[in-house]
Symmetry: C2
Subunit: 296 residues, 2 copies
């Protein structure tokens, strides 16, 4: 059956009654707005929106379950970069009326599965028809303690640079199945002082300059130390994008203890020192080969 | 110049440094997530997302300023329906790389103007390219006092039904220039007990059945009393959609005082009693001609 035959009301009815949510949700999907309990105590409210567009972030032939998973996990990866905990999500689905209802149901199953992985409640959403490709926007609201949030702006000259996991070649499979590094990020800010952090979505060659620029410092990378996925080369690690690993800067004084504790806590996920932050004036490799740039 | 020639980074740089925001914003656009102060006191957090798609909610030839205005005001109209106050907005812009940068700048001017009208801070956003039409998603976060929120679910048999403003024919001009009835809604819940409320976006013929269905009651309308825009007929009031007026249900005991106070407070905006809620079993006109139905 196509969306055109089902109609928006019945589609939303079918999708929304399957959304479980916790007791922090007073009014969920189905009313004009969602009403939820604000974060307790002296925390910041954390807001992030991200999108997944057919032909850009996924192909039409991709499994709808994977598309839902990825659409939810993309903004959650930004929560990881902020060391924040996600709580509530809003979904906007823009799809042609010729879209199969089965595709949409499977897509929502992927969203729900991803949300459940991090105890996120899907509290609302909107659908619209379009004459173009499918586009999904997911907005996430959560919180972070005032003494634990991390931005990309506070890297310091002399900081060591670390990346989690392995880089390059994510487009082959991982980009549809990644798990945002929220647990790892929360552990980091609980046990160490992290100066600056960003998630690698556009590729190290784009995201590292972003972090350095925001921190008003330069950087140097030991290319030979980049942790590579099987089959990936240095160029892939710099340019492929979609790794959704964490890149962070922290004081070299704690690096030894950090690496040792990490290995005990996350024995299956590598943590690698890949370089350091240096004065802006000393930058010798300002022109990394770029990652994925939208509109170019 | 086209987006393709400018690139995402420079586009965001240009747009984001023009975003003013209040002191409740700790980290605004430009970092992985936005960090803001949660609502004070015993309030609910209010969340809403909505979208505007080229060819559906606006035409390509529409003024980009108007498109930005409408994209921001659509979710704010849901805040009006909830009697909530909006505070923060996140923008997702999905546009082809052939889009003129001038269009995007003007579109953002429209967003900023609409946000400023209700003291909303734009705290983040995302852009993506697409091979299809322009699509915009706006998510808004705010708050409402626990004793003032209104849903569409609590209408009672015997309630009078009111609409603000005039209905029908909005597509000619008003749909790009409307002002959400937030001030009116806040005044209503401060001074009266409002049982159920919804904003008229799809048309009275769709939105009233939604309110009645959610409240588990029926309704009857005095068609001859419908307040019509100039040139609009009853059919337009029921089916055109895009009115963005409020429809609400409240006890008939306060109707006289409500109408009198309203005229004093909002002398230029009509408030009209259009009918009442009745038992579901007594419904005599269940088949209103419909409003705008997505995917049909």
């Amino acid at each position: 059956m196509k969306l055109r035959q089902l109609g928006e009301d019945r589609l939303l009815d079918q999708l929304l009654h399957r959304l479980p949510f916790g007791k922090t949700v007073a009014v969920g999907a189905g009313d004009d707005c969602a009403l939820v309990a604000p974060p307790a105590g002296r925390n910041f409210l954390v807001l992030k929106t991200d999108c997944a567009v057919e032909g850009i972030h996924f192909l039409r032939r991709a499994n709808a379950l994977d598309v839902g998973w990825k659409a939810m996990m993309r903004p959650l990866s930004d929560f990881a970069a902020t060391s924040a905990l996600p709580q509530f999500a809003l979904i906007t689905l823009i799809a042609s009326k010729e879209t199969e209802v089965g595709w949409v149901r499977k897509f929502y199953r992927g969203l729900r599965k991803a949300a459940a992985r991090f105890k996120v409640s899907i509290v609302g959403g909107e659908t619209s028809s379009t004459r173009g490709p499918i586009a999904v926007s997911v907005s996430v609201v959560g919180f972070v303690e005032k003494n634990r949030w991390v931005s990309r702006r506070s890297g310091k000259v002399g900081d060591d640079l670390f990346v989690t996991g392995q880089l390059g070649g994510a487009i082959k499979r991982k980009h549809l199945h990644f798990v945002p590094r929220i647990a790892e990020s929360r552990w980091l800010t609980k046990n160490f002082s992290i100066h600056a952090m960003i998630d690698l979505s556009d590729g190290l060659g784009i995201d590292l300059p972003h972090l350095a620029h925001a921190s008003k410092v330069g950087f140097e990378i030991e290319m030979e130390n980049l942790p590579l996925n099987r089959g990936a080369k240095i160029g892939n690690a710099l340019s492929d994008g979609e790794d959704y690993e964490l890149l962070f800067a922290s004081s070299p004084r704690q690096s030894k203890r950090l690496l040792r504790s990490w290995r005990q806590k996350f024995p299956r996920l590598p943590l690698t020192r890949i370089g350091s932050l240096i004065p802006q004036s000393a930058v010798r490799n300002p022109q990394l080969p770029g990652g994925y740039v939208h509109f170019q």
